[in-house]
């Protein structure tokens, strides 16, 4: 460094950004969450043009760019499209390692849903494996109304 900074230690300003958010789920996701919470049913929405069924449900089909029309019940069984087992306690994680994330395509759905896979040893999980939704004990109007997915017994 330059002479003008002789003897000066570079400082670090330890701080944070803490702006709490309240995200509106919107009508489509609200219906999905309420049905999950109150009826333990998993709903998807269907595109009137390409007939894809989306779960988690969408108001608009991203492929055809038209509004989805019909609600369809999907799952609670599905299959693992892909997954990972996280072994490092990454800062964003909400659970203790090992944590298994999977993309799960529910029966009757075209796309896949992100969720936890539990009640199985991580080494035994495989792509294509059949899993089923386990509902949370606590009533929650969110994606966490499903606690996790587990292998079909």
């Amino acid at each position: 460094m330059e002479d003008i900074f002789k003897g000066i230690e570079p400082q670090v300003h330890k701080s944070q950004i803490s702006v709490p958010y309240q995200w509106w789920a919107g009508q489509t996701a609200s219906i999905f969450f309420i049905t999950l919470r109150d009826e333990k049913k998993i709903l998807g929405t269907e595109c009137p043009q390409c007939s894809k069924v989306f779960c988690p449900p969408k108001k608009t089909c991203p492929f055809c760019y038209v509004d989805t029309k019909n609600w369809k019940e999907v799952g609670p069984k599905g299959k693992v499209i892909t997954y990972t087992v996280v072994y490092r306690q990454l800062a964003a994680l909400k659970k203790n390692i090992p944590v298994v994330f999977g993309l799960i395509q529910l029966e009757g759905s075209t796309n896949a849903m992100l969720h936890y896979i539990e009640e199985i040893e991580p080494e035994k999980i495989s792509i294509g494996m059949e899993v089923e939704a386990v509902f949370a004990d606590e009533k929650k109007a969110s994606i966490h109304a499903i606690s996790h997915f587990r292998p079909v017994q």
Partner: protein, 154 residues
């Protein structure tokens, strides 16, 4: 679906920690503030403007600055306001105490303005052009908080 319950997803505190580099110019400023309770600016070799806070580049001339000069500690209120509405302080995630005086102070010898709190317990004295001086904290941390606020000199 007329009377649907609209769901809100809450983030909770949503804390994102950062270790912001102060930079060598800022570090030198805070070092001086901490040890000697003196303010430093930096002078542009081209336009001679003295900048506070000190930084590497004169935006006007696009040249690197290296000459530190002492400024302040007294100064003049360049402009100010008094904040009276409630908002969330993003550094804490909680409501900031209000009201408070918010001032841009032209430290003696500087060409730019330095932001800090202004003591507003007597609002009638707080005017553009009023002379002010810093009130330092007892604790010397070498941060912007070493200055508690500026107060109007009677």
């Amino acid at each position: 679906m007329e009377n649907i319950e609209y769901i809100i997803i809450e983030s909770g505190k949503a804390v994102q920690p950062f270790n912001y580099s102060v930079g060598m110019y800022g570090s030198k400023f805070f070092n001086e503030l901490k040890n000697n309770r003196r303010f430093l600016g930096v002078r542009c070799p081209k336009c001679n403007k003295v900048y506070v806070p000190p930084r590497r580049v004169c935006g006007d001339c696009f040249v690197e600055m290296k000459e530190f000069v002492e400024v302040g500690p007294k100064g003049t209120i360049g402009t100010f306001t008094i904040l009276r509405f409630a908002f969330i302080d993003p550094e804490t995630g909680t409501q900031k105490p209000i009201p408070y005086g918010y001032g841009f102070i032209q430290l003696d010898g500087a060409d730019t303005l330095f932001q800090h709190y202004i003591d507003v317990h007597d609002e009638s004295k707080v005017k553009i052009g009023a002379r002010v001086e810093p009130v330092f904290s007892d604790e010397k941390k070498g941060t912007i908080k070493d200055i508690l606020y500026f107060r109007v000199i009677d």
